[in-house]
Subunit: 508 residues, 2 copies
């Protein structure tokens, strides 16, 4: 009989983990199988386990019901199967379950709580020094972001020439002492001198990564995991199909029991020189087959969009394609794809040389409001020049910009909407307006108008002659809400003639 | 023999005018003809004269050569023709002749001096009180605008409910005491109570208008005359074809000898409920036939563009169609129309309720630079709330905004270009770049980069390994030019990481 350790009690939507000893001869990552079957009154699920090094295999599972679970762990990893049971208990207050698509264009946690995405990006924060990782977590704790996009693989790019604290595979990296800001592009892909065994994972790398996923979970932050990306000098972006598939299976086996996981198949999928649509579709089919929990799935573009109408894609994870129109295109994309729209890359607040990383905090916040009031979600990132090249966008650390504090205010406004999310509404040509969906169109009783860079000194509104409406003037930049009064029929609201104003009107 | 008065000497490109007495019985505007034939060594031109009231007929002519002119005035207006001669002398320093299209996309005065259009709009400034007109002229004198768009007919619209100081026809207007900000739209077109004789012009109206055209000429400002517009309660926008044609012929006879005249067939041609493309084309054919000097001709849209590829249209007079992209579309329009692009309405600086009239000075100046660096020209207007509803955009008066002083700086930059205008240049995806045309492509030796709302802390440039280049950092908002040094090969310019910066690079 194997040794097996696990907790007898776990919260619903939390990670149940069983550790078992097994064979370590040969290459345990490919030579043996391990599988868990989990059974309760309401569900029956089969999941892959994985080799975690030092002769230890693990099986993870996320229960979706508060009830008794039986499990059986089988496979060639050991001589005999292991059986056991545990109790899934009520979730704690902050545990709302995984995020799901809700109401076609929006999101909610599995317990029904609306989820209004305010994302940020720190591509390789979990591969920086321990001290920097701690600082990142502290910054996240002090801010309002509820989604983080980051990578499993290390990153090679401008401002990203240092070595990561660990590698996902056994082996040795190419020599990075030759790299400079001027020549790094020549080393993209599989640079000379790499020596990796793509069939032997480094469990420590994944253990640390999972700790960070858990840290985010504890902070109420969704982990939008970028499984592949092209900013690479180690050859991780150019493995063959067999090794790619091994990697996908390993990642899914390790990570899918974490309720806050989202799958981002790739960042800038179109920049991989050697991947085809067939490859991406194959990875997607592996996720669909092996992720027992149906976590959210998308893929992020540099230039051309991936075909977001593919059935496996749960939401659009967009990089803006136009320099001047970003959130402004959300209406179009909603109509085209009938899925939630997240503009994960809407440009970053900062002042680096690249045009994708040097907009002002005001423009960033404007893009968030524009996106939100058109029924979409935007993502933040920050790229201010830093004496040690620590830029939030890749490394995490501290925030220096003006936009983050305004997202707390925006999130407050979103949380005060009566529905599951905003719906763009036909209004004047020169205003962005939204409402919330109700059974009778146009009868939501909630209206949010946003004026962006326009500076009207007043606006007129009309809904009906019967009801009273409470109007508020929102300064989205200065984060104030001013009661404008209660109105009936046709009415006029005086505005300060500044940029970035909104008006919220609710039926009494 | 008739009495005839005229000057024996006139500057080239100035207005020669002969006044003659003629029949005043019946309706002199339609019952009699009058025509002038002008002949010199280099030209032979036939122009219509017009009835100016009080038994006086006039014939105007703009000589294009410095030489002796003979003329003959004929027609049924009098029993006998009149003949005479005058001398066209060298133009004074500020008289460069009429503006022509130059180098496909640009403009130059007839003497070859480049004309870089910095327009503004005061739709009915010449129909305001004498005092206000004087103030407008003073403001123009203190500013740098070199084109003014304004109307012959009075205007009826929001902030434009007062009566004009004169009407173009004999008769009486409808009652305006009933008009309010709330109901004025119901009175658009031919409101009840108008009583006009559309076959009897009011010469005083046109005399005053011409004085204003002349005032602008003296200030070096082109008069972009809006001959028709739809913001009307007097029925001037809904006359029948016979009266329309009479009006066009009268206007052309009176105004075309002024060198600073441009013909704008209409403002927002697409808002006239009763005019068809056939009508506009007919007016255009009248101008082409009767304007002996080929003044610039265009027509301005509200929403859909007129077909700017029509051969009679000399340049595109555009109202931006997209809220977010204005000057950004100049490149496309240049390619599509192969004509100069003027975005005459790019939104106005101000704070009124309408989205077309409440952008900031910063956004206005950004749009000008964006337009300029893409090889086009932009137009200004101002709509700040005013206690007496005196808004520059319609009434003239004083300027209150932040943008006008920045146009002087922009014009200086334009005047320092070596060529006839800027040509958009392929550059990085995140910068707007232009050069000037030269025989060898890419060998102009002049480069202007604009970064708009992007805030790079530095940028890198490369032209060749051989020549030295002088680089300057231009703050388009603070109106400073800083010498960045002389560079060769690949070089880097440090920038302040602010919005609205430009870099000018010139070959040594």
């Amino acid at each position: 009989m194997n040794e097996c350790t696990y907790n007898k009690q776990v919260e619903k939507w939390d990670v149940f983990e069983a550790s078992v000893k097994g064979h370590s001869a040969g290459n345990p990552f490919i030579d043996y199988t391990i599988e868990g079957i989990f059974k309760s009154k309401n569900e029956l699920k089969k999941v892959d386990g994985f080799y975690d090094g030092d002769g230890i295999y693990k099986v993870r599972f996320m229960p979706s019901f508060e009830e008794e679970y039986q499990f059986e762990i089988t496979g060639s990893f050991a001589e005999e199967p292991y059986r056991g049971s545990f109790e899934a208990v009520a979730p704690s207050e902050e545990n709302h379950g995984p995020v799901r698509v809700a109401n076609t264009y929006h999101f909610a946690y599995e317990d029904g709580t609306p989820y209004y995405s305010i994302g940020t990006t720190c591509y390789v924060w979990s591969l920086q020094s321990e001290q920097l990782q701690k600082q990142t977590l502290k910054t996240l704790e002090e801010n309002t972001f509820n989604k983080m996009r980051f990578c499993i693989f290390p990153k090679h790019y401008d401002y990203n020439l240092n070595e990561p604290i660990s590698y996902p595979y056994e082996g040795n990296p190419c020599d990075s002492s030759v790299l400079t800001k001027e020549n790094f592009l020549e080393y993209m892909g599989s640079a000379p001198g790499n020596d990796w065994d793509f069939k032997r994972f480094n469990p420590k790398h994944f253990q640390m990564f999972e700790e960070r996923v858990k840290d985010l979970m504890d902070l109420g932050i969704e982990a939008d995991i970028i499984v592949m990306h092209p900013y690479d000098r180690w050859g991780f972006s150019e493995m063959d199909a067999e090794c790619d598939d091994l990697y996908w299976n390993y990642v899914i086996a390790r990570l899918s029991a974490y309720r806050n996981v989202w799958w981002s198949l790739a960042n800038e999928y179109d920049l991989f020189p050697k991947k085809t649509t067939e490859d991406w579709e194959r990875y997607a089919s592996i996720i669909c087959e092996k992720d027992a929990y149906n976590h959210l799935r998308s893929i992020h573009n540099c230039k051309p969009f991936y075909d977001y109408s593919r059935p496996w894609i749960t939401h659009c994870s967009i990089q803006r394609q136009d320099i001047y129109k970003t959130g402004e295109l959300v209406d179009e994309w909603r109509i085209r794809y009938k899925k939630p729209i997240i503009i994960d890359e809407i440009a970053y607040e900062g002042n680096i040389q690249h045009g994708w990383g040097n907009i002002s905090g005001k423009e960033m916040v404007r893009r968030f409001w524009e996106t939100t009031c058109r029924g979409g979600y935007a993502g933040h990132g920050e790229t201010y020049m830093h004496p040690e090249d620590i830029l939030w966008w890749s490394h995490g650390g501290q925030l220096h910009g003006d936009s983050p504090e305004r997202f707390r205010f925006l999130l407050r406004i979103m949380k005060e909407t009566p529905g599951m999310g905003l719906v763009p509404m036909k209004a004047s040509w020169d205003e962005v307006a939204s409402t919330v969906e109700r059974t009778i169109p146009g009868e939501s009783g909630y209206y949010l108008y946003y004026y962006g860079f326009n500076r009207p000194s007043f606006r007129e509104y009309y809904f009906d002659d019967v009801h009273e409406y409470q109007a508020e003037i929102i300064d989205t930049w200065n984060m104030t809400i001013e009661n404008a009064g209660i109105f009936k029929g046709r009415f006029k609201i005086e505005l300060p003639g500044h940029e970035y104003m909104a008006v919220r009107i609710r039926k009494e």
